[in-house]
Symmetry: C2
DNA sequence: TTGTAGGCGTTATCAC
DNA sequence: GTGATAACGCCTACAA
């Protein structure tokens, strides 16, 4: 067995070597239709001997569909998306799908290009993290329905009707503020780190992705719950594009004499920036500044004090997205309401009582 | 324009609508051969109007090759591989290739399965992070040459001849030890976190991947350079599979009264574990214990003191792997010697003089 | 149970 | 410059 020809061995070669027709060979190899056990064994043996490898491209052309899904992500190197990607790949694999992957870097043109290529490769469905602030016409037909089975991951597209899988970031931010307020904090700030406008902004920039906008809204709702006023100078928006922007925002927020005693950091980069800013300013987290971040990065448990976080169901999001997509591919209509997974507030010493 | 039929519109439809033959339509759409500008424009307009999308599967079958490469990784959620994956995807995209991705979780069967599927999908090449301690016959023909263009990423496969892209981890570990020795440390320990045997081992387990083995060897070479003896009880091997193993190793190493004054952590999880163990044991990093880790994780700069690290050229590795693969696909013979990229030792306060 | 033959959507080789 | 026509490798009526 396994002489392993140069890859050019087709089902015709197998059929000829086994002295049967290509139809019979195809039946044996594909494991369908009526065929005698004897000939099937013989054909399989011959195929193995020749090193035959089915050509899935040809099969896909013939049957009109592939088993490949496309995954379009904004930043594969971001730990959140990396973990989600892993879940997507693992789940897809378990469901018998392969995954074509593309990275857009929040660039609309790159996303458009990726989707076009995937469509030409006849993927049977798409999981997309839509790029911030871009138009997404390329995903939809004129009648507003997606060109093909589609699931949006982590970001809603307002005004569009597409299956969407997100976590309850509004509720989590609200809960985080509630926790801080319950410990006596009345001066609570927020730093967003998902903006696409350069540098640090003091007003919510247009084009914030829904996950970020939800956190801002949840923050405001939490303040309202606690009967606190929102202060414009305690809400900062740092771009995700410049590594230094989050730290600049943290220094601005905490460097002022009139600083908040607690901060909600809307992603883990910002949480890290707050830690660094406190180091720089000589402020002690948990004493001078309480902190709750988003995303349960591994380092948050290693700090003294450990950092409280909103643990997002990152693997669950990826898995749910693929399951929803597989269902659509199977013919089920797309989920009309967003699939919302719960977050988990992990209470650690960085969220301390006000002193 | 863009009525966007249901996806069933083929080149035949375009040809018919433009009143030309499929050959002419193909020439116009494919941008090759001799064709008058007028008919080309007309055909392109008609194609756009019909919402024609070329079927890349059919083209691939016809021309006998696809533009897709396969990427097989052991753990997509690991920040190192996530960043490498991003570099692979970005570079491939720039070079006109798409990327099919698979995650093996260090499981040989999963790797075998992934490679088989990718071959059946007729990828034009493979970038593989080979699973630890597995046999990799499925990548090679009986004569020892790869079945198709192949590049190994981050891990050599001893005894096999395949293009390989790695970083100089031996040199980096050696240099790290040299730095510590130069600051007066004579008691230097090491914790590896890439083992596949459960728990914590006190002797180098079999089947350590080359990147890990290189670091161990570099560590020993560094000791020799400094005229220091290697102590068996100061070299621990924690499995990557159990999150707690690295911390257990760190507690074992540093909890003893006869503990080293400096530690080299062979990946960033281990570095974090050392930090946590020091917290737990009441040891101060940079004073009681000096530390140098592998991989420049973002949190290493946020600690006080900041953690010294070996910054690996992670994006460079991914890019180099794809460039080498593309060259092979273009017909160039595979690089016969490993492509070794330099590491960079980032000296921060955690690597302090001995007190 | 097996074989024949046609076609999936492309591209490429011929003629004209 | 353009048009028949034959592949590419596979599946699947339909016929035997």
């Amino acid at each position: 067995m396994s002489e392993g020809g140069r890859g050019g061995v087709t089902i015709v070669d197998v059929a000829r070597a086994a002295q049967v027709s290509t139809a019979t060979a195809s039946r044996a190899l594909g494991g369908y239709g009526r065929i005698s056990a004897a000939t099937r064994e013989r054909i399989l043996a011959v195929a193995d001997d020749l090193g035959y490898r089915p050509n899935d491209l040809a099969r896909a052309v013939r049957v009109g569909r592939s088993s490949t899904i496309g995954l379009v992500v904004t930043d594969l190197a971001n730990p959140f998306f990396a973990q989600a990607t892993r879940a997507v790949v693992d789940t897809a694999s378990a469901l018998g799908h392969e995954v074509l992957i593309a990275n857009t870097g929040e660039d609309a043109a790159a996303e458009r290009r990726a989707v076009r290529v995937f469509v030409e490769k006849r993927v049977c469905g798409l999981v997309v993290v839509p790029a911030a602030g871009a138009d997404h016409d390329h995903l939809f037909r004129p009648d507003g329905r997606p060109h093909l089975p589609l699931v949006l991951l982590d970001r809603r597209l307002p005004g569009r009707s597409a299956a969407t899988v997100i976590s309850d970031d509004l509720g989590a931010a609200r809960e985080a503020v509630g926790l801080l307020a319950g410990r006596g904090h009345t001066a609570i700030g927020m730093i967003d780190g998902n903006s696409t406008v350069p540098g640090v902004a003091r007003d919510a920039p247009a084009g914030l992705v829904s996950a970020a906008a939800d956190r801002v809204e949840g923050f405001l709702a939490g303040l309202r719950d606690a009967g606190l006023e929102a202060r414009r100078d305690w809400m900062l928006y740092a771009t995700a594009a410049e590594p230094g922007a989050a730290e600049e925002a943290a220094l601005t927020l905490l460097g002022s004499p009139d600083r908040p005693t607690a901060v909600v950091a809307n992603n883990s980069d910002v949480a890290l920036a707050v830690v660094m800013a406190c180091n720089r300013l000589g402020l002690a987290i948990g004493r001078d500044v309480s902190l709750i971040g988003f995303d349960d990065a591994s380092w948050t448990r290693a700090f003294t004090p450990a950092i409280s976080v909103v643990a997002r169901p990152v693997a669950g999001l990826g898995e749910a997205a693929v399951r929803e997509l597989a269902a659509q591919i199977g013919g089920r209509p797309a989920a009309s309401e967003p699939i919302v997974l719960p977050n988990r507030l992990v209470d650690r010493p960085s969220a301390a009582p006000r002193r």
